[in-house]
């Protein structure tokens, strides 16, 4: 049986006994989504890195906290990540902006795009504005936007991840969208739509 075919609880048992290969399978499967969520919520590559590290250290040191009968490993890891992110956000004011440096220490680059330099510059500016606007949202609205719009979760999945009813997620997303529209309309000097969005 190949290691990739093994179920996650079995892999976790092996990993805790010191099997690096089993651990890496689990790590590679989950780390990127957890890192992106933490990064989009905190706006700090360093904080996101720390959160991911803490989450997997917890998995190594206290594997008994994961109970397979209560849900999948991915959901457990996301729950732990979310708790760490919330603690981070409560503890610190927002840190450096997402645009600064990515986790590998290099500046983020736009994907290859057949656009003119002017269009690329405009696009970068818009991405930056959206990024700033998302990071400026109150935590619960930001989380709804991150999960439902950036992570492309359904309302049910987002509600499950946040441990709240679907209606709460919808409400938060509605409010988050309105705030985003208002911010961006103001930034782009188009107040005609901002009033409608902010209602």
């Amino acid at each position: 049986m190949k290691i990739l075919d093994e179920k996650e609880p079995a892999l976790l048992k092996r990993a805790v006994r010191g099997d690096e290969g089993a651990f890496l399978v689990l790590y590679q499967k989950h780390q990127a989504s957890l890192y992106r969520y933490a990064l989009r919520m905190t706006g700090s590559p360093w904080a996101a890195e720390e959160v991911v590290q803490e989450v997997f250290l917890l998995l190594i040191r206290e594997p008994q906290k994961f109970q397979p009968d209560r849900g999948a490993l991915g959901a457990f890891l996301f729950g732990v990540t979310r708790n760490r992110v919330m603690k981070h956000l409560e503890r610190l004011p927002r840190e450096d902006s997402l645009d600064a440096i990515n986790a590998n220490g290099t500046t983020w680059r736009e994907p290859e795009d057949p656009l003119t330099p002017m269009m690329i510059a405009e696009k970068s500016e818009r991405i930056e504005q959206v990024r700033e606007a998302v990071l400026g949202l109150p935590t619960e609205f930001r989380e709804a936007v991150v999960l439902c719009e950036l992570e492309e979760m359904s309302y049910e999945e987002a509600a499950q991840a946040c441990g709240c009813p679907v209606g709460t997620i919808r409400s938060r997303l509605h409010r988050g969208r309105a705030l985003l529209l208002a911010k961006l309309e103001l930034l782009r000097d188009a107040p005609r739509r901002a009033s409608a969005g902010a209602k």
Partner: protein, 219 residues
């Protein structure tokens, strides 16, 4: 659909998990309401920007140094676990060895090899009459201690003193050195003897075990 309903759920019309009826209703409302149509247009622009942001961060993952640190943690824990198991095995081995040593020692003692019993024996006053009986609290092995002591010739009885008992396996003929008469035909027999030693280190009384009865020895 009203404008309030459109603001609440109309913007979901493009989502894959939107209800088809709601999406149709929202489109119809946006087509007929200029304000809601403007809101929908703003939202679609924002959605496009969010998609750019999503693409911009889609392939991000934790840096390699996190993986390295976690692997190091795994190795450290694995290495720490090995000595712990070694210590556990060594502890059990030592405990087993100690138990074995105690068992062998006890068996050796039971076999009657010369050994000094260091337990103090409180001697009863019955020694005044020449026979010294051990006190009931004496710790000498009870199963071999049923007989009474016979005072050796020329020894001074000193009741109520604390004495020591010396267990010796010896030839019956050697008892003659303590002034006891020994039958010559049995002098070569090996017997188990308890000596009651006074505080001055001199034997004061003697007791023979089991079938090696003192009376027969002293014939």
């Amino acid at each position: 659909m009203s404008c309030e309903q459109f603001e609440l759920s109309g913007l979901d019309m493009d989502r894959p998990d939107a209800q088809p009826e709601e999406a149709v209703s929202a489109r119809e409302h946006a087509a007929s309401c200029e304000r809601c149509f403007a809101l929908l247009q703003s939202w679609r622009e924002l959605k496009q920007d969010l998609r750019f942001l999503q693409e911009n961060t889609r392939f991000l993952s934790a840096p390699a140094r996190v993986e390295m640190r976690l692997k190091q943690e795994l190795r450290t824990r694995r290495e720490a676990r090995v000595p712990r198991s070694t210590v556990a095995i060594a502890t059990w081995a030592l405990a087993a060895a100690a138990a074995l040593a105690v068992a062998v020692g006890w068996m050796h003692w039971r076999d009657g090899s010369p050994s000094r019993i260091v337990n103090k024996a409180a001697v009863s006053s019955s020694s005044r009459s020449g026979t010294i009986a051990p006190d009931s609290s004496m710790l000498l092995a009870a199963d071999s201690d049923s007989g009474a002591f016979t005072r050796l010739p020329a020894s001074m009885p000193s009741p109520y003193e604390n004495r020591e008992i010396l267990q010796v396996r010896m030839q019956r003929g050697a008892l003659g050195r303590f002034g006891l008469p020994v039958a010559q035909d049995r002098a070569a027999e090996w017997v188990q003897v308890d000596f009651l030693i006074g505080e001055d280190g001199v034997p004061q009384a003697v007791r023979l075990h089991d079938d090696s009865q003192l009376d027969s020895t002293l014939q």
